[in-house]
Amino acid sequence: MSKILEIKDLNTSFFTHMGEVKAVRGNSFSMEKGDILGIVGESGSGKSVTALSIMGLIEHPGRIKSGQVIFNGEVISNKSNKEMSNIRGSEISMIFQDPMTSLNPVYTIENLMTEVIIRHQKVSKSEAKRIAIEKLRMVGIPEPEKRISSYPHEFSGGMRQRAMIATALSCNPKLLIADEPTTALDVTIQAQILEILRRLANDLDTSIIIITHDLGVIAETCQNLIVMYGGMIMEQGTVDEIFHSPQHPYTLGLMNSIPKVHKKDKSRLLPIPGSPPDLMNPPKGCPFCPRCKYAMEICKEQMAPRYRIGNTHTSACWLLDAQAPDVEGFKKGCDIDG
């Protein structure tokens, strides 16, 4: 398998009049073709900014300060906006959180979809319409020939998200980035949308990045997982690895803060105390340190390196260092990666 996407030491900042907001700080990761990668973190953790950086959609006053985005073996982070617009929507697509507001209300679904298809595939109007109808059928919209001439407000939330997905997939992209695709939807609809994403990834051989704050969505859909906090990657690995043996106190906190139906003991949900760091003046050391119950002196001073727990599993936490005190569940004494 080859890498569809590789991020190297990505730094993205927003230069506001109050100062520089360091939204993404030195992230590196990669994903294989056909993979479904989840990025999880609370709001302000830098997950959406990472996605927009890949798309080249960081808007003024933000910009990518350093680092590379390599897509399908080609560096795309230094491309001009015009060059990127050829890739957006055809090679890499993105769908957004709120289907209510993400579709332009004054145009029909047909208009919105065919415009994208014609832009990238240079086909006739009627051919574009045929493709659009086909994609709408694929995402499970009944009677697509009729519904295609509807306006977005005539669709329900779930239908709109399907239409968004259909548009995003209309040019058979190699990579689809879904930013909180189900957050604004009912739980039953959520499951359907996730199912569609999973099926399409399989059928169209599209790799998918799902950005969410909902570990349930990840567990249901993804193979690999990245946990972000304060603009940095805390832990990454396969979903199984991380769910069974989280190696970062933040990941642990995330897991404890979601309810588990099948859990035997009646322990209360444990919210993580405190609030995310101020990215204008991020702490010198680990960004999670002020909220971490295992914080040590070194955490305040220096960000931990990436410790390798297994073949695919890494975590940036000092608890994994050989010198750290023993904590149950944490595999002390791992090697530093790279």
Partner: protein, 307 residues
């Protein structure tokens, strides 16, 4: 669809009837009647005048007569300009006002909207600051000040344009600029803020994420949405501008509707006041109706909503 417009038209007609009634009631409840002056008018003259204009008839008869006249668009005789009907005054004044107003409206639409869009696209750049500075001045300085400044500098000091009258094309420059100043500024501010709001919307990000060119994102996806509030403002504005600005016509001595209106206020010429008010109201309501139509053309959600 059809019933939506039908409903709008019926409610527009009702509004016009209401306005006519209200205006009639107001004008007829002014104590003393139209011919009472500071200097006492002899009783027999007063009586003859009242008789002539049917003012001695019971009020409901007068009202019915007036409404009957309204249907045929006969607004009755002027009380102060003997031998002239209100219709004559309208025919004399409205074309002039409408000509100046039409030119001003065009100026506002053709310059105000593009300026607002450019300003929004170049937010916080020099051109934005310049446009917004001018626009802010335009909405803060009252139109009579703008008009007098134009006369003072371009008419008086520089002598480029005549200070009154519409005898040459130069005569139109002053009134048109003074008339459009406020609305031009307002429209460009409104377009700008509406445009900025739209550019923040998720669907703009979607359009970009779908790889559309920046030009298409702006021209197709942003502008149409941004124009919705602008259209709402422009409709009544055109009505107000076309029926003549009292201030501008007074300052530039333009023989338009506004000037006749002011004159009629001074002369207590109640039929003229009434007639002009009703005419203006009809015009205004038609413009609002047109805005509604335009609105439903731009924004498909309107048809569904209950107004």
């Amino acid at each position: 669809m059809g019933s939506y417009y039908l409903r709008r038209i019926i409610s527009a007609v009702m509004t016009i009837v209401l306005i006519a009634t209200l205006t009639f009631a107001m004008m007829h409840s002014i104590p003393g009647g139209p011919f009472v002056r500071e200097k006492a008018v002899p009783d027999e003259i007063l009586k003859a005048l009242n008789e002539k204009y049917n003012l001695d008839a019971p009020l409901y008869i007068q009202y019915l007569d007036y409404m009957k006249g309204l249907i045929t668009f006969d607004l009755g005789p002027s009380y102060s300009k003997i031998g002239t009907s209100v219709n004559d005054l309208l025919e004399a004044g409205f074309p002039t006002s409408a000509k100046i107003g039409g030119m001003a409206s065009l100026l506002i639409i053709l310059i105000g909207i593009p300026l607002g869009i450019i300003s929004a696209l170049k937010q916080n750049k020099p051109i934005d600051y310049i446009v917004m500075f001018m626009a802010t001045l335009g909405v803060t300085v009252p139109s009579f000040v703008v008009a007098t400044l134009i006369i003072y500098f371009f008419g008086g000091k520089l002598g480029w344009i005549p200070t009154f009258g519409l005898d040459t094309w130069r005569g139109y420059i002053g009134p048109v600029i003074a008339l459009s100043g406020y609305s031009l500024s307002f429209v460009s501010r409104l377009t700008r803020s509406s445009m900025l709001e739209v550019l923040r919307q998720d669907y703009i990000r979607t359009a970009r994420a779908n790889g559309l060119s920046e030009f298409k994102v702006i021209a197709k996806h942003a502008v149409k949405n941004a124009l919705i509030p602008v259209v709402t403002y422009i409709g009544p504005m055109v009505a107000a501008i076309m029926t003549g600005s009292f201030v501008i016509e007074k300052i530039f001595a333009v023989p338009g509707m506004g000037r006749y209106f002011i004159e009629s206020i001074g002369n207590r010429d109640y039929t003229t006041i009434m007639g002009m008010t009703v005419f203006y109201a009809i015009f205004y309501i038609i413009m609002i109706l047109l805005v509604d139509v335009a609105y439903s053309l731009i924004d498909p959600r309107i048809k569904l909503g209950k107004e």
